[in-house]
Assembly symmetry: C2
Homo-oligomer: 365 residues x 2
């Protein structure tokens, strides 16, 4: 059985402590706390009878909406079963011999690349740089033999966003060397500035650029399974050819309009993020046992300092308070002092801060 190493694994946790999963406050999954929009919910229910038909193999209506939303032509868009399927399929088609990945990062990248025979080279993001990627320094590591570079922007678990101009330098650098550059923008809508931070508008100029997107985080729909890739239409065509048919279910095929029509939800998200990101960060830095890395998106990486407790113990103690946090020790280059928490609504965030304070101070005495 596959061992879960991802956030949001409520099921196991709930089972392990005998609490109903509904009673656990989940800070381990980085999902928009505004939850399901009413419009999305209504769209799902309105289309429930569609499941008696096979989903549209080519996701035409969905891609029409994604095209409006991203400004990218439909033929340069493929949709799939979450960003996960898209990632695997992209490696299946590109088949880079050697892939360079800054880390710590989402562990699925290496798994997908290695699944298609790619060798992985990691570039270590350093704690002393607050895990921020320095593009000039990174460029020096793009040596001969590298066929693809994969960047998560903003990056998970470090919550760091790369300056768009610097990212353009990197894209230009890889283009000149015929290197693919894959940017995972799963959290891009959950940054201050949102889609303006995306490099999607460079796609026309750069055939070596691929942008992976998901609706999981921004629309709070990890259970629905919907991701997409933007990129060169010839490669996209090959991805369609290799894709398992009907992997996007009928429900997911029908929610495109929410992206372009549900303006209120996106505005409310922006307002929430601007307020809570600062608030939670400022509260957490008051806890002396935590080193808190300044977040650029809707989650925060932290390190337990000045005490013996490790991340696994902190996780267990927090579960006993009904709060699930992400033990981040299994991310490449992190250790058993790191944890990650999502940013949620004020009430939940307050509960998190209070519980951390109690747990860390009690352990002290």
């Amino acid at each position: 059985m596959q061992q879960s190493i991802h956030g949001g694994d409520l099921y196991k946790t709930a089972n392990s402590v005998g609490i109903r999963k509904e009673d656990i406050l989940d800070f381990s999954a980085n999902i928009n706390p505004l939850g399901l929009s009413q419009q999305l919910k209504e769209a799902l229910i309105a289309h429930i009878d569609d499941i008696i038909n096979y989903p549209d193999l080519e996701c035409n209506e969905l891609r029409d909406e994604l095209s409006k939303y991203t400004g990218i032509p439909k033929e340069a868009i493929i949709a799939g079963n979450g960003a996960s399927e898209m990632l695997y399929l992209l490696f299946d088609v590109l088949r880079p011999g050697k892939t360079l990945i800054p880390a710590p990062c989402f562990s699925e990248y290496a798994k997908a690349a290695e699944n298609y025979g790619s060798e992985i080279c990691y570039y270590e993001l350093k704690e002393e740089d607050n895990f921020r990627l320095s593009i000039p320094h990174f460029l020096q590591h793009i040596t001969d033999g590298i066929d693809a570079v994969l960047i998560c922007n903003p990056n998970n678990p470090t919550s760091t966003l790369i300056d768009k101009k610097e990212l353009l330098e990197l894209i230009e650098y890889t283009r000149k060397r015929n290197i693919y550059i894959i940017i995972d923008e799963a959290f891009i809508e959950l940054t201050i500035g949102g889609n303006q931070n995306s490099v999607a508008d460079y796609l026309k100029q750069y055939q070596n650029l691929f942008v992976i997107r998901a609706l999981t985080k921004i629309l709070a729909i990890p259970g629905l399974r919907l991701g997409y890739v933007l990129g060169d239409s010839c490669i996209i065509k090959r991805m369609w050819k290799n894709k398992i048919p009907w992997s996007v279910n009928s429900f997911a095929c029908n929610i495109g309009k929410v992206l372009t029509e549900n303006v209120g939800y996106f505005e409310a998200t922006t307002a929430w993020l601007a307020a809570e990101k600062e608030w939670l960060y400022n509260e957490l830095i008051k806890i002396s046992k935590l080193k808190v890395f300044k977040p650029d998106t809707n989650f925060i990486l932290m390190k337990i300092v000045n005490m013996d407790m490790n991340s696994a113990s902190l996780k267990v103690l927090m579960i006993s308070k009904g709060i699930l946090i992400r033990d981040a020790s299994n991310f490449k280059f992190l250790n058993d002092k790191f944890v990650r928490v999502a940013i949620k609504d004020r009430k939940s965030n307050s509960r998190l801060v209070e519980a951390l304070r109690v747990v860390l101070n009690n352990a002290e005495s």
Copy 2:
């Protein structure tokens, strides 16, 4: 863009003739015409808020129900995004060098096998045998070098069911020669006798046997995406390891109970099938321009005879009557005289028969 070669492609058809897809009577997809059961619909709506959480990676609750339904232990069950994902994943893990497949059959088999480097050998089912597989004759074709045999039972598009005792001979024969045998039972519940025709109860004795199942047809949920494989738990474990995470969406994770609790729906299905399979077959054989192959499951293969019309033309003429049938000419070993129709409710079946009669007779004159 992937070209659709499967039944049920309502979207393209509706577009091509300018009819709303709701107004087309779809005989191309072999789905239980009883449609969504009320209990299933209620379960889907009740769990709608679950999509804000990641689905259970291991589909535990679903597999508990599948275990009750099939009598197979949970650790010998993997669930995935339709039978398609299961098929690909099984070939990914088994990696047979050479796979023997009776055909005509579902085209995805060869695609999945070849995707993982397997060579395909076809065994031709002959029209003069009414496309029925003769096991003694087939055994002679399981020559040295064959690593896997893949059988669809009942078979698509021929609607033929293999006698269970004969199938056991084949399974025994392959076991002795260390050959994997994969049986796709996507339509097994839609045969007279239903699950009693399944070879799932042989799984304990035969480690070389794998059974692919889907809930698509029996529960009329092709849009939901849910399939599963029953087989040796070591292989199943490796399939979990290779599987793209979360490919079973939250909705699909939550419908297991319908299988074990919605007895009324299954009884009604049995009654419908027993009545309509005979009725439609007996009506169709009255049309002199059609050679009709006797069906064992919920669809019927037919051949246009005694006239020049081909399957593509018949399809177009039927669409003009608001009825979509399956042009079966692209199935291996069939030609442009073959079409396939689903068996639906009496009212729809009558419309089909009447339209076929009119279209075929008009062409005559």
